[in-house]
């Protein structure tokens, strides 16, 4: 039954793909419209969503402890001591992700029908989108690490294809390549982690792995070499996560990924792909729990990423880049949560973030759609009047992301902050950092909100006349708006259905003893206050634009640093890419051609040279030959006699 979830998007991909390749691609063939191809794609993902819901219901029906549906499709690789089966497994954790992926996927597919209406080859777009959903579902449903890796690289490929969808613009193609290579760096860490698991525990299947770990370590924590191995595994897998979920060292590709069409950014770079890192950590939570150092590293990386991304987002002017950095920042939050041991909170934030971030992106999409591809918020303003429905839904999302109480953002972010403060892995500094980032999030989101919808209209009127997006785009927004608003209630502190639901996979974290219960309410109030403070500051600052200009002039240096993304891209270019280029040039010209070939040809030239010199001995004069003969004779005779005398 689980095979069906995968089958539908695959069939969707094949239909669109073959239809495009055979009928549309060759020169002179008519291109199919976005409606037809869109419907095929959307129905495929919707059916998969339906099956997902059925599976969810079935799971819910099962007894508490044994909530697992598993079917083994076929034996993938069986060689030497290794045997990998293509086994799909759904349990509470992955069912949630399936619903999120398929659900939001369907909404975005419907939205794309409208968004891609005037694109030349929508068939190709929808084929890639379906392929992405297929890979993401494989990632989530995969029962063993290699299968997860199959999905892992599959989504990497689809993000490459979709970012570089408009391939004629070389910049967009470069962005796609950058994304794929950054992911590949991460994937190497993932691979090595997988090998370390196999060599230490002998299996890569999740359930088998869990049994081996429990049986080997049971209660007491591992020590010495065992600890080193487990920590190694966790850190290597985390390197994979940083690659995929855009954390500190490898996050540079996500902002550039905005080159892709907006639905792509919404689906891949907000809701699904970037969260696969969290899914992996959650799936192997029983391993991460064993190595405190790994958790600490994760927490700090998450915290720092959140903070740095937030600082950059503050100064960005492109609407999609602001959202991109905000995503990086929110992902930092999620890893912060996992790092302090509250994986449940992390998963909860994934879900809520998926709702409001997808909504924000789609909202931005409809703004851009209305403003005829204009993405710079400084050239927008006053769109409230022109796009009332978009304004409404974006406002809901804005409130959610700032973390105001009734909305979903508040519950998940607050849970994370509380855990950062209270759990025995958490520490005060991280909590403070998180709080500061929350404030800055509110600040830059409000800035974007004001620039886009409020204030004077800064676009030139006769060229651009904004209009509301068609119903096919707005309907999904409404659904998402509802989810963003109500989504928080599934994880109300102390009575969270979600924690209960994830119980067997992700144990519920109890706050450390030293912290008394009442502190939670106090901190909740503090975080709401901080959010309001951020909003109010942005509102005051950006009411008339002269004041930010002045601020920018005074703090020019800081602005320049933030505007250039802390010069991280330049750092990588200078430190890695250019030196490797120079070294390989040296290797090729220098070593390959100069050293090896010279040696090889050297032998040839040496024999040629000796040939030339010896050849001169053939002077042609009879006398010389005779003397040479005598010489030979005398020497040899002498040697013969020498032996005897």
């Amino acid at each position: 039954m689980l095979g069906l979830i995968l089958l539908f998007p695959l069939i969707g991909f094949l239909i669109n793909g073959l239809w495009y390749a055979v009928l549309q691609a060759p020169q002179g063939r008519k291109k199919a419209g976005s409606l037809a191809t869109g419907l095929v794609a959307s129905s495929a993902i919707f059916l998969s969503f339906a099956v997902g819901v059925v599976a969810f219901v079935q799971l819910a029906g099962m007894p508490e402890g044994a909530r697992v549906i598993e079917n083994n499709l076929f034996s993938w690789i069986k060689v030497g001591g290794l045997s990998l089966d293509f086994v799909l497994r759904v349990d509470p954790l992955s069912s949630l992700f399936v619903l999120v992926i398929a659900g939001i996927g369907t909404l975005i597919h419907v939205y794309s029908i409208g968004y891609m209406s005037h694109d030349e080859t929508p068939g190709r777009f929808f084929a890639y989108l379906n392929l992405f959903c297929f890979s993401m579902l494989v990632l989530v449903l995969g029962g063993a690490l290699p299968l997860l890796f199959l999905g892992w690289e599959g989504v990497g490929l689809c993000s490459y294809l979709l970012i570089g969808y408009w391939y004629q613009d070389i910049e967009k193609a470069k962005a796609g390549k950058k994304a794929f290579i950054a992911n590949r760096v991460g994937d190497l860490g993932f691979l090595l982690g997988m090998f370390l698991i196999y060599t230490t525990f002998g299996t890569m299947d999740f359930s088998a792995l869990r049994e081996v770990v429990v049986q080997r370590f049971g209660g007491m924590a591992p020590a010495g070499a065992e600890l080193a191995a487990v920590t190694g595994i966790c850190l290597l897998l985390f390197v994979g996560c940083t690659g995929k979920s855009a954390q500190i060292p490898l996050y540079v590709w996500l902002p550039d990924a905005m080159a892709g069409p907006t639905p792509v950014s919404a689906l891949i770079h907000a809701a699904t792909m970037v969260t696969s890192g969290i899914y992996l950590v959650a799936r192997l939570d029983f391993l991460y729990a064993l190595s405190p150092t790994a958790l600490e590293v994760m927490a700090w990386v998450g915290g720092l990423t959140a903070f740095v991304a937030a600082t950059i987002a503050v100064v960005q002017t492109d609407i999609k880049r602001v959202l991109a950095y905000s995503t990086v920042s929110q992902l930092g939050y999620m890893f912060l949560a996992c790092g302090v041991g509250a994986t449940g909170a992390g998963v909860f934030h994934v879900i809520t973030h998926a709702f409001f971030k997808a909504l924000l992106f789609l909202g931005a999409g409809s703004v851009i759609h209305g403003m005829h591809e204009e993405q710079d918020i400084l050239k927008m303003g006053g769109l409230k009047k022109h796009m009332p429905r978009t304004f409404l839904v974006v406002t809901v999302a804005w409130l959610a992301i700032c973390g105001l109480p009734p909305f979903s953002g508040f519950f998940s972010k607050d849970e994370i902050l509380w855990m950062a403060f209270a759990s025995n892995q958490g520490n005060r500094v991280l909590w403070a950092l998180g709080l500061l980032t929350a404030m800055m999030t509110a600040f830059y989101m409000t800035r974007m909100w004001i620039h886009t919808f409020m204030g004077s209209e800064r676009f030139d009127h006769h060229k651009v006349h904004p209009h509301e997006s068609p119903i096919v785009m707005v309907a999904p927004l409404y659904v998402l708006a509802v989810l963003s608003a109500a989504g928080g209630f599934m994880g109300v502190p102390h009575a969270s259905w979600l924690a209960h639901w994830l119980e067997p996979i992700v144990p519920h974290v109890v706050p450390a003893e030293g912290v008394n219960h009442s502190m939670e309410w106090v901190l909740m109030a503090v975080s709401v206050a901080v959010a309001l403070l951020g909003m109010f500051a942005a509102h005051r600052l950006f009411r008339d634009l002269r004041r930010p200009e002045a601020l920018k002039a005074r703090w020019a240096f800081i602005h320049k640093v933030l505007w250039n993304k802390w010069f991280v891209d330049e750092l990588y270019e200078g430190a890695l890419i250019r030196p490797i280029g120079r070294v390989s040039q040296a290797l090729w010209r220098g070593f390959d051609v100069a050293v090896i070939d010279r040696i090889v040809l050297g032998f040839g030239r040496a024999s040629e040279w000796s040939g030339q010199t010896l050849r001169l001995a053939q002077t042609g004069s009879l006398q010389a030959y005779a003397v040479f003969l005598l010489l030979g004779l005398v020497l040899t005779l002498g040697y013969m006699i020498y032996g005897l005398v």
Partner: protein, 102 residues
């Protein structure tokens, strides 16, 4: 009456042989070279005769007979070659035959 030591005769034959060999290398005039070859063959004959006397065996002397025949035939062919060469090169000097080299 004293007797001649065999090695004296053989050394004498060897000196003649080496004079012939040396002459062959020293002289450029092909005629003299041919004569030197004859000298060498004569000294070989002498060695054969001396050895056959020492061994009290006639094999040496019979072989000398055949060697003389061969030497004669060889010098005839040599002179023939010399005439043929002379007809085209108009000289009997080895310096002129340096066309084939390296």
């Amino acid at each position: 009456m004293q007797v001649v030591e065999p090695w004296v005769v053989l050394t004498f034959a060897a000196t003649i042989f080496l004079i012939g060999l040396g002459g062959l290398m020293l002289r450029r005039n092909i005629l003299v070279i041919l004569m030197c070859i004859e000298l060498m063959l004569n000294s070989v004959n002498l060695s054969f005769v001396t050895f056959s006397r020492m061994h009290g065996d006639m094999a040496g002397q019979v072989s000398v007979f055949f060697i003389i025949v061969v030497a004669a035939a060889e010098s005839a062919v040599g002179l023939g070659l010399l005439i043929a060469m002379f007809r085209t090169l108009r000289s009997v000097d080895t310096d002129d035959i340096r066309l084939l080299r390296e």
